[in-house]
Assembly symmetry: C2
Homo-oligomer: 625 residues x 2
C-alpha cells in the first residue's frame, strides 16, 4: 500500500461533487439486454404537455445517447480516488482467455510503481492488470470473426438504437431521406450486425481488457458518428486534477472517446487517474511518452523503449493507440516543399528518427510485433497520419496520400492479426477537396473507420478553429467518417481549458449530428423534431432541455427575458409580446381542426369564412389562454 497523495485526494474529492450534477430536464436510464448485467445507459429527456392553445397533447420523452457515465447519475456513488465500477470485468473473466498478472510486464511501469517520490501523485490503489493467456487473441475482432457475439457487441447494438421503438409519435419519426454515399445504414441495429461490421473491419469496439470501467461503444460509418476530445497537460501547463476534470467535463457534453495527449513529467500517473475514472475509451499517442523517456531526443528512440511503453500503457488500460507507422523514409522528402512541412508531432518525431538513422521507420518494420501486443490486451490501432497537411496549401498532396496508401497496407496486416484498426485523417483541407480524402480512404483502407481531425476549411481564423473545422467535420462525417476528432478554439494558440473543451465538444456534437441527419441515420431527426415542436409551442424549458447544452441555452434566454414567467409566455424573446409569427400558423391549424376536414383543403375553401372570423375576434395574435 502506498502513501496517499493527500493534496490530490483533496482536489479529487472537491471535484467529485462538482462534476456529478445531472443534466437539466433529464435523467439517466438503463436499458437491459439479454442478461441482467448488460445495462445500457441512456438519457431520457422528459417533456411537458403541449399548451392547450396548441392542442394540449402529451409529449413523449426523448431518449438520447449518453456518454457521461455514472457522473450524471444521482444514484451513483462517485469517488475519483477509487475509480468507476468495473462493469465489464465479469464478461472479460467469463471468456477464460485472459489471466491476471502477478507483476506489471513493463519495466518502466514497475519502476514508477515503486518510486516513493511518486506517492503524492499516484492513483491510490489498483489491482494488477490482465493479459491474454499465451497464444490467445482477445480482440473483439477475433471473437467477431469466429462468430461470437460478445456482451460488448450486444451492449453497443442496444446503445446505437437509442430506444427508437419507444418513440411512437409519427411526427417525431418524420425524416428526410438521407444520402449515405454507399454506407450500409440499418433501420435497426442487431447484435449480429455489430458482430459482422467488426468482423469485416468496418467498425471497431475499442475496449482494452484492462479498462473494464468502460461502457462499450462502436466506431464505424454505419453507426452514429462519434467525436473524440483531446485533453492532456504539457511541460508548460496543468496538473492531474485538472486533466481528470477535463475528462469528466468532456464526456458530460458528449465526448465519445477521449485522447490523453499529456507530455508532462507525470504522464504515467495522470493516465492512471484518467483511465480509472473514464467510462469512455481512452486513446493515447505512445510515442509522446517514449520521447519523454529519451529526454526529447528522437534519434535515441528504440524499438525496445517503444515496446515497453506500449506494454506499460496497454496494462493501464489504454483502448487505442495512435501509431505513426505509415511515415516512411520515402515520404519525408515529399514534405520539403510544403508551406508548413510536417505538423503532426508523432509524424515529425518519426521523420526525425528516419533522417537521423537513414533507416525505415521502426514502427513500420516492427508492425507485426506491435500487432502481437495489441491483440494480447485488445488495444485498437488508430493508424496516425503523421504527414497530414498543416495548412490549406498542403492539402491532398503526395506526402499525405503516400502515407494514406501505406496505412492501407498496414490495415491489411493488422486485420491478418484480427487487430481492430481505424485510420486517422487530416487536418487542413478546403471544402472542394474533402470528398477526395474520404473516397481515397475508403478505397485504400478497405472501409476501416476513418477518424479525422476536422478538417479545417481555412487557415485564417486562429481563435475560431472549432468553427473552421466543424464545417469540414460535418461534411466529411456526412461522406463517411466514423469519428471526428474535435478542435477547440485554442487550436494553434494554446492548451484548451475547461471552457474550450466544452466549446470544442459542442461544435463537434453539432457536426456529428448534422452528418447523421444527412446520411439518413434512422431516428436522427427525432430530437430535431421534438425540439422544433417545443420551440413552436413556446415550451421554453423543453427547448432548452432538448438542446445539446441546456445550461447555455437557458442562460442566453435569460439574458433577454430573465423572468421565469417568460418561459411560459407565448411569444419569443426576439419579437417581444407585441407580435409573434409562431402564432399565425396556429391560427391556420386551429381553423382546419375545428372544421374537421383536410387542413389544406379546408383552408382553401374556408379562406373567406376565416377572414370574417378573424376580424370578429378582433384579430388579436396574442390571446390569453
Amino acid at each position: 500500500m502506498n502513501a496517499l497523495p493527500t493534496e490530490l485526494l483533496r482536489q479529487a474529492e472537491q471535484l467529485s461533487s462538482e462534476v456529478t450534477r445531472p443534466i437539466p430536464g433529464s435523467h439517466k436510464i438503463h436499458v437491459e439486454g439479454s442478461r441482467p448485467d448488460i445495462r445500457v445507459p441512456m438519457r431520457e429527456i422528459l417533456l411537458t404537455k403541449t399548451p392547450t392553445l396548441f392542442g394540449g397533447e402529451d409529449n413523449p420523452p426523448v431518449t438520447v445517447y449518453d456518454c457521461s457515465g455514472p457522473y450524471t447519475d444521482p444514484a451513483a456513488d462517485i469517488d475519483l480516488a477509487v475509480g468507476l465500477p468495473a462493469l465489464r470485468a465479469k464478461w472479460i473473466e467469463e471468456r477464460g482467455d485472459t489471466e491476471q498478472l502477478s507483476a506489471l510486464s513493463s519495466e518502466f511501469g514497475r519502476a514508477r510503481e515503486h518510486d516513493p517520490k511518486l506517492d503524492i501523485v499516484r492513483f491510490p490503489d489498483r489491482a494488477l492488470p490482465r493479459r491474454a493467456k499465451d497464444g490467445a487473441n482477445v480482440s473483439q475482432m477475433h471473437y467477431a470473426r469466429r462468430g461470437i457475439i460478445t456482451p460488448e457487441m450486444e451492449f453497443v447494438a442496444i446503445r446505437e438504437n437509442q430506444r427508437l421503438d419507444a418513440v411512437r409519435e409519427a411526427h417525431l419519426l418524420k425524416q428526410h431521406p438521407g444520402e449515405s454515399f454507399g454506407a450500409s445504414i440499418q433501420k435497426f441495429i442487431t447484435p449480429e450486425f455489430v458482430r459482422d461490421e467488426i468482423a469485416r473491419g468496418r467498425a471497431i469496439l475499442p475496449n482494452n481488457i484492462n479498462h473494464p470501467e468502460s461502457e462499450p461503444m462502436i466506431i464505424g460509418r454505419n453507426f452514429l458518428t462519434k467525436i473524440n476530445a483531446n485533453i492532456g497537460n504539457s511541460a508548460v501547463s496543468s496538473g492531474i486534477a485538472e486533466e481528470v476534470e477535463k475528462l469528466v467535463w468532456a464526456i458530460r457534453w458528449g465526448g465519445d472517446t477521449v485522447m490523453d495527449l499529456s507530455t508532462g513529467k507525470h504522464i504515467h500517473e495522470t493516465r492512471e487517474w484518467i483511465i480509472r475514472n473514464s467510462p469512455v475509451p481512452i486513446g493515447t499517442v505512445p510515442i509522446y511518452q517514449a520521447l519523454e523517456k529519451v529526454d526529447g531526443r528522437a534519434e535515441e528512440l528504440t524499438w525496445e523503449i517503444f515496446r515497453d511503453t506500449l506494454i506499460e500503457q496497454a496494462e493501464q488500460g489504454v483502448d487505442y493507440f495512435t501509431i505513426h507507422a505509415g511515415v516512411l523514409l520515402r515520404h519525408v522528402p515529399l514534405t520539403a516543399k510544403r508551406v508548413t512541412g510536417i505538423v503532426s508531432r508523432g509524424g515529425s518525431i518519426m521523420a526525425k528518427w528516419c533522417l537521423a538513422h537513414h533507416k525505415e521507420n521502426f514502427l513500420y518494420t516492427h508492425f507485426e510485433d506491435i500487432c502481437e501486443i495489441m491483440k494480447a490486451y485488445d488495444v485498437a490501432f488508430s493508424l496516425g497520419d503523421g504527414l497530414r497537411p498543416g495548412c490549406i496549401a498542403d492539402a491532398n498532396d503526395a506526402a499525405q496520400f503516400g502515407e494514406l496508401e501505406a496505412l492501407g497496407e498496414l490495415t491489411q496486416i493488422a486485420w491478418k492479426h484480427d487487430v481492430q484498426t481505424m485510420i486517422e485523417g487530416p487536418g487542413h483541407v478546403p471544402m472542394q477537396l474533402i470528398k477526395e480524402n474520404m473516397d481515397k480512404q475508403l478505397r485504400e483502407c478497405g472501409e476501416a473507420p476513418f477518424y479525422t481531425l476536422g478538417p479545417l476549411t481555412t487557415d485564417i481564423a486562429p481563435g475560431y478553429d472549432h468553427i473552421t473545422s466543424a464545417i469540414g467535420a460535418a461534411m466529411i462525417g456526412w461522406f463517411g467518417t466514423a469519428m471526428l476528432c474535435y478542435v477547440t478554439p485554442k487550436e494553434h494558440l494554446g492548451l484548451p481549458n475547461r471552457q474550450d473543451v466544452r466549446d470544442g465538444i459542442m461544435a463537434y456534437k453539432i457536426a456529428a449530428h448534422a452528418a447523421d441527419l444527412a446520411k439518413g441515420h434512422p431516428g436522427a431527426q427525432v430530437r430535431d423534431n421534438a425540439l422544433s415542436k417545443a420551440r413552436f409551442e413556446f415550451r421554453w424549458d423543453d427547448q432548452f432541455n432538448l438542446g445539446l447544452d441546456p445550461e447555455k441555452a437557458k442562460e442566453f434566454h435569460d439574458e433577454t427575458l430573465p423572468k421565469d414567467a417568460h418561459k411560459l409566455a407565448h411569444f419569443c424573446s426576439m419579437c417581444g409580446p407585441h407580435f409573434c409569427s409562431m402564432k399565425i400558423t396556429q391560427d391556420v391549424r386551429d381553423y382546419a381542426a375545428e372544421h374537421g376536414v383536410d387542413e389544406a383543403k379546408a383552408l382553401e375553401e374556408g379562406m373567406a369564412e376565416k377572414s370574417k372570423e378573424f376580424l370578429a375576434q378582433g384579430a388579436q395574435v396574442y390571446r390569453a389562454e
Copy 2:
C-alpha cells in the same frame, strides 16, 4: 434646427472614441481609381521578416478587403452625431438625374421631423433627401443596361481585386483549383465585368442615392462571398447608442451589409443614426415598421401605409428592402402541416393579412408600384422568403418552393423596371438538401443573387446556432450563394449583444471565406498561405494579425504563454519548449538549400549524409539562433 439630444450625444461621443481603434498590425490604405475621388479602402497587414533560421526573407504585406469604413482609420475624424462624409455625393449629383427635395415625401417622415417629443432622440442635422427627377430611373442596373460604367462600378472592381497584382511571391498565390458549379469566376475583375454582371441581374450594387456615405460593394456569385449582420432593438430591449455601437462593431469584424431589424418605438430615429454613420449598405424589412404604425394589427395594414413607409425609409437612405411579395394566398394552406409553420415575421404578417382579408398579398398586387419607388432612389429588392422552413422537418417543402417560384416571377418584373434584385433563402436545411435549394434558386430566379440565412443544418443546438448555420452557410456559399446572413449564438433565444454580434460575424467570415476558397476565387488563398507561413516560422504576431480576429488570437495565446518573449520563441504553445514538430521540416529544407539541388532529390540522395550531420550536431531540434 432642433433641440439637441444631449444624453444621446454624450453616449455617441463616448462611443466615438471607443470604436475607432485601428485593427492591430495593419493600417488603412486607399487605392485610387481613374479619378482622384475614387479611393477604395483596403486594409494592409504588415508582416515581419522571416527569422534567419528559416531563411531570413522579407514577407510582403497582405492586403485584405475592409468593411470597417473610416472607423479604423486614425486619420479620420469621427463624430457619430455628424455622420460620415458623403463620399458618393458628387457622383450622384454629376449624373444629373436626381434632385434635392424641398420637403420629405413621406407623411410619417414629416410628422416625426416636427415632433418636439423626438428632439431628444433625433439625429441632429441632415440635409433633405434626393429623388430621381420625374421619369428617371437612377438604379445602377439601369445605368449598366445602358452601357454606363459608374464610379460605383469601378470602385467595386478595384475593391474585389484586393490588390492581388501586388502579391508577387509565387507561394502566396499558390492555390488549389476550385469547383465553382458553373459560376463565372474571373482572374481579374474589370469595371466592365461589374457592369455586365449588374446589367444581367447576376449581381447587385446596393447604394441608395440618399446614403452617399456608403462605400460601394457588390453582391453576386461571381464576386467574393459577402455576409450580412442583423442588428436592431425590439420592444423589450436596447437603445439608439447601443444599436450604433453594434453597427460599428459589426463592420469592424467584417460585416459587408447590416440589416436594421428594429421594432421599438424609435425605429425611424434609430435608423437615421445608423444610416448616417454606416459605410456599408443598410437593409430593412419595411413591413415591421408598417406594422408598428397599425399597433401590431396586421389586418389593418394597407398599401397606403406601406407605401408611405417605403418612401420614408428610401428617403432616409435604406439600400435594400426585404419585401415578402412572394407569400401568396395559395401558399398559406401549404404551411398548415408543418412542424413550425411560418417562422418569418414578415411572412406571418402577410399570411395573417391574407387570411384576414381573403385577398391576395398586397405586396404582390402592388409589386410594380413598389418598383416605381425602388428605381426613384435606387433601393434594391431583397425578395423575402416569408415561408422559409423554421426547422429541419419543414425544409424544401411545397410552401418554401412555391414561394421561391413566385419570387422567380417577381424577379422578372423587377428586372423589367431595371430594379436591382436579390432573393432571400432558408433557414433550416439538413446538409443533403442544401444543394437542391441553390440549384432551384439559380433556375427559378435567373441567377439573381441568392442571400441565405444560414442554413442551419440541425435544430438541436440552441446557444450554438452560429455554428449549426456556419456549416450550411459555407456549403451554400460554395454552391453559389452571394451573401450569407449571419446567425448569432443567441438565435432562437434572445437579442444579440455586442459579443454575440462579434461571434456571429466571425462564424460567417469563416463560412464566406471557406466558400471563396472552394469556388476557387483568385487570390482567396493568399491570406491562408501567408498566415500558415507565419505559423510555420513562429512569427506569432504575424499569425495573429493575419487572422480574422487578431485580438482574440493574441488573448488566447497569452493565456498559455503570457510572456512577450514567447511570441518570438521557436516553439508553439501546445508542445512547449521541449520539442516542436515545425522545426523538423526546416531541417529537411536546410539540407536541400545548403546543397543547392532540387530539394526532394537532395533528400533522397543525401539521407545518409544528413543522418551523420544530424548526429554530429547533437541532433537538437531546438537550437538557439
